[in-house]
């Protein structure tokens, strides 16, 4: 196993990685920006090194300072967490060059999945269903028109380098196609530096279901079942669960097989997630692959009894997975709510500040992953995730009532949080019946019904 590992991240995921290292007997190095001097990951790590000013570009994205720290402190591995440098093939390559193990997939796998159009072609070739659309990028309007004619409207224009909804346009008629191509291209160029576009049939009211996979360096790939992440707001996941509600085991096995095929097709190693769109008729389509640990990995850990971050280390060091697909057994149901320092009563605006009191929930079936403690000041520079609450139940109903209970007892004073929003979702009759889709929040949740903020 590794001797000493640097965590190139902050917040709850840095804490999560440190915990895994402690259980494996690996020494840890935390890096931190000036704004994170009092952060929990700094206090928990064996060593900590300041790598720059608050702005992420100059600290958590500062490859020279991170690599200097890694070399100065003699680490033999780097875990990138999620976000920041986690899906930067260049960073993964630099680690390789200086003989430090990057706990993640090889640079080539990151790069392929980073280009959406290329990934789509590759998956199609491997027999993984993709949404009907263009073969790779479209070069001009007439190509686009041909594709639209063959798959039928509505279609969606997407940027190859895209993400987060930018460079994306839904087109309902042939007449709107040209303008959509132009604006999407301009947007993509501005946002990602590449105007390359591709087309897909627009799947209406889809569910977002993803498969957790694990791959070792001995060509073994397994999946750990599926997660439903349909409860989103502006493409940000807010609540995730496993297994997906109202879905047959057979369907999940089919998804799992497709995900394993996807991983094999790009010689993937490490933990990864293959995301699928599922339409109302139960067809599934490859959407993208996240080549890193994900925020919502704990729901899978809770139902499978695995520790994905520890397994990530195990395969990174070159060991065999040690688990066959037949060993993976799903028990019960797990839900994760992302508690953010955002005010759901005011359009989810981020609300940094000092947490005057922080009493996390506990008791049976409750897991909390957080970097927050009483007295912690949330810096305004990074994302607003305060804590992940994960509940396990013998069935979905128990997981839901337990989550209600856990969120109700979660005491966070000093900043508004998304807890009132989550309680609304948990109480929603459609949600309780398992009727979820990616536009659930717009269609089913009336945010104006949230009681006015007490302090205003």
């Amino acid at each position: 196993m590794f001797r000493k590992l640097l965590i190139a991240n902050r917040g709850e995921i840095a804490v999560r990685v440190i915990r895994a290292c402690q259980e494996l007997g690996i020494r840890t190095v935390a890096v931190y920006s000036d704004a994170d001097r009092h952060a929990l990951h700094v206090r928990m790590a064996d060593e900590a090194f300041c790598i720059g000013p608050p702005a992420a570009a100059e600290s958590y994205l500062n490859i020279p300072n991170i690599m200097s720290t890694a070399e100065l402190l003699g680490v033999d591995a780097i875990h990138p967490g999620y976000g920041f440098l986690a899906e930067n093939p260049h960073f993964s390559e630099i680690c390789q060059d200086v003989n430090i193990t990057f706990v993640g997939p090889p640079p080539e796998a990151i790069a392929i999945m980073g280009n959406k159009a290329a990934a789509r072609q590759r998956m199609k070739a491997a027999g993984v269903p993709v949404v009907p659309g263009s073969e790779g990028p479209v070069r001009n309007e007439s190509e686009a028109t041909d594709v639209a004619r063959s798959v039928g409207f509505p279609i969606i224009v997407k940027a190859s380098a895209g993400g987060g909804g930018r460079g994306m346009r839904v087109v309902h008629t042939r007449e709107d196609l040209r303008r959509a191509l132009q604006t999407a291209q301009a947007e993509a160029e501005a946002a990602f530096g590449s105007g390359e576009l591709y087309l897909e049939k627009y799947v209406e009211e889809p569910r977002h279901i993803e498969v957790q996979i694990l791959a070792d360096k001995h060509n073994d790939v397994i999946h750990l079942g599926a997660r439903d992440c349909s409860i989103q707001r502006r493409h940000q996941k807010l609540l995730e669960e496993s297994p997906p509600p109202g879905v047959r085991d057979r369907f999940i096995r089919a998804l799992g097989k497709a995900a394993v095929r996807a991983a094999h097709a790009i010689n993937y190693t490490s933990a990864g997630t293959v995301e699928f769109l599922v339409d109302r008729d139960g067809h599934f389509y490859f959407m993208e692959m996240n080549t890193r640990i994900q925020v919502e990995h704990p729901v899978t850990e809770m139902v499978t009894g695995t520790d994905i971050v520890k397994l990530q280390m195990k395969v990174a060091v070159g060991e065999k997975l040690g688990i066959n697909q037949g060993d993976v057994e799903i028990r019960g149901h797990a839900i994760e709510c992302r508690v953010n320092a955002e005010d759901p009563r005011h359009d989810f605006r981020p609300s940094p500040g000092t947490v005057a009191m922080f009493v996390p929930p506990g008791g049976p079936g409750v897991r909390v992953d957080t970097h927050v403690y009483t007295g912690y000041t949330i810096p305004p520079y990074y994302d607003s995730l305060l804590a992940k609450v994960i509940t396990w139940g013998a069935d979905r109903a128990e997981a839901i009532t337990r989550m209600r209970r856990a969120l109700a007892e979660f005491e966070i004073a000093g900043v508004p949080t998304t807890i009132p929003f989550h309680l609304m979702v948990l109480d929603n009759a459609f949600f309780r019946r398992g009727e979820v889709y990616t536009n659930f929040v717009q269609r089913r949740i009336d945010l104006s019904a949230l009681a006015p903020h007490l302090s205003t």
Binding site: H38, S68, G375
Partner: protein, 158 residues
């Protein structure tokens, strides 16, 4: 004769000062007529402020992972040279060369005072003020963090 009423504005001002100083966990202020002691919500760092008559306020706050000899605050006349990057601190350009500066030396603004090696590159670090080097805080060839104080320059030196 003496005004016995509490000066609430004064209390508020003291709390504000404590609140605005992120490194301060407790603050005690004592005057002949009033003693104010503030403890902030626990955070990890404890600061002790004392105000002996006539002397400047001294604050020392060791970080959770003590950086080698990094003073958090220096008097008005002492200006630190800080590391603009992570790397290895060298006092001289080559192992056998004389150090750029030693304690007691005068330095001019823009004068190279040390080197930080990072990613095989040697970065010359300049003093941003004119003054006398009163202390070199880091051992030669030691790793330094971003923002770490490397040496102290006394700007009141003649």
């Amino acid at each position: 004769m003496a005004e016995q009423k509490l000066d609430l504005d004064e209390i508020r001002a003291v709390i504000r000062i404590a609140s605005e100083s992120p490194d301060v966990a407790e603050l005690e202020v004592e005057s002949p007529t009033l003693k104010i002691s503030v403890k902030k919500v626990p955070g990890g760092v404890r600061a002790v402020i004392s105000q002996p008559a006539g002397n400047p306020v001294a604050v020392h706050s060791p970080p959770a992972h003590p950086a080698p000899a990094a003073p958090a605050v220096t008097g008005d006349h002492l200006v630190p040279v800080t590391a603009p990057m992570v790397g290895t601190f060298f006092r001289a350009a080559k192992p056998d060369a004389p150090p750029f500066v030693s304690e007691g030396d005068m330095v001019e603004t823009g004068q190279t005072v040390c080197i930080i090696e990072a990613m095989k590159l040697f970065n010359e670090i300049q003093s941003e003020v004119r003054g006398r080097i009163v202390r070199i805080l880091v051992e030669n060839a030691s790793p330094v963090e971003y923002g770490q104080s490397l040496m102290l320059v006394d700007t009141t030196a003649p």
